[in-house]
Symmetry: C2
Subunit: 199 residues, 2 copies
């Protein structure tokens, strides 16, 4: 019984190490420039076929990564919505999270903001169709109803707000902006919010 638990723990450890190594490599070199042998070396795995005991194929590794990242983003958005009432506070919470992730988990943010996921996961829905982003649209719509946000096409509003946020984080991730994300947080938040707020 204990042995079985140990075995499962070991199994999920390897599982996670593969995902972690793949995330790092995909973020740094891109999906197509990363070979399975790269992943095997980066994780602590001895042979290539171990990989196939945990994942059906290379695409599935990327797919699981994708699911994990978007699921946890979705959970975070739920949490932020529960904790805050006003749309401005909810959006601020999401922005805080994204800036923090950029500094503390840059590979995750590169996966989110930079990788062209549909090139290697053609069957996945576009980012805007994921649960987390549908909720963000809802936050925006609620903000319009409450008179906090200018009335306009919600998708366009999303584009203005996160255009500023995402582009700035992309420049941080690529090194074009040389400080860490946190250094740009307050100014960028203000600009993004003013771009959609009712005067």
């Amino acid at each position: 019984m204990d042995q079985e638990i140990e075995k499962n723990q070991a199994k999920s450890e390897i599982h996670d190490e593969i995902l972690l190594a793949a995330l790092k490599l995909f973020a740094e070199k891109g999906y197509f420039n990363t070979s399975l042998t790269d992943i095997v070396e980066a994780a602590d795995i001895k042979a290539t076929n171990v990989l196939y005991q945990h994942f059906k194929n290379k695409q599935m590794i990327a797919s699981v990564l994708y699911e994990n990242i978007f699921d946890s983003l979705n959970v975070s958005v739920d949490d932020i919505r529960r904790r805050n009432q006003k749309s401005s506070d909810q959006l601020r919470g999401i922005v805080d999270l994204m800036f923090r992730l950029t500094d503390e988990a840059s590979h995750v943010m590169q996966f989110l903001l930079i990788l062209k996921v549909d090139e290697f996961l053609p069957e996945h829905k576009p980012t805007l169709g994921t649960a987390a982003f549908i909720k963000i649209i809802k936050i925006i719509q609620a903000g319009m109803k409450a008179g906090e946000i200018r009335t306009m096409d919600p998708t366009l509003c999303y584009s203005y707000f996160f255009g500023i946020i995402n582009h700035t984080l992309q420049l941080v991730l690529s090194g074009s902006l040389d400080k860490n994300a946190d250094a740009y947080l307050s100014a960028t938040w203000l600009t993004a919010w003013n771009a959609i707020a009712k005067k």
Copy 2:
């Protein structure tokens, strides 16, 4: 003599057809999902080795495309700067151009805004290092001096302005915004300009 001209025209026709087909395929499927046989079929070419009479290899096709697009962007920016005095008018000219290109030459804009060029052209400078973008930064700095634009880090200012512009055009290109770019031009320009303008 005439024959030689004809020959060169024919040669450059094939040359251009290859580039056009490659641009389309790269924009639609990505660089790595596009094989040379795909390009050969899409252009009007009968055999694979003709391709190598015009380009050293696959990477060079992408490289020439990259150069062409950024060169012509650079020329356009020069032209816009010559025609307009105020920074706001110059930026407006650039935005007009980008929206028009999105509707009329979507593949070019996908190459510019969506493709991760450094994945297949690792030796190329980042977008921000190209001549056209250096000039855009200069426009922004001039606008700050003239009191048109809020004083801040020029790269950050660039990020705010083109964050809104680029993200909106990306959503148009991906179909997430269902009208053509022109339908969003005036509202998006206003929002982007207000994000950086001095009140």
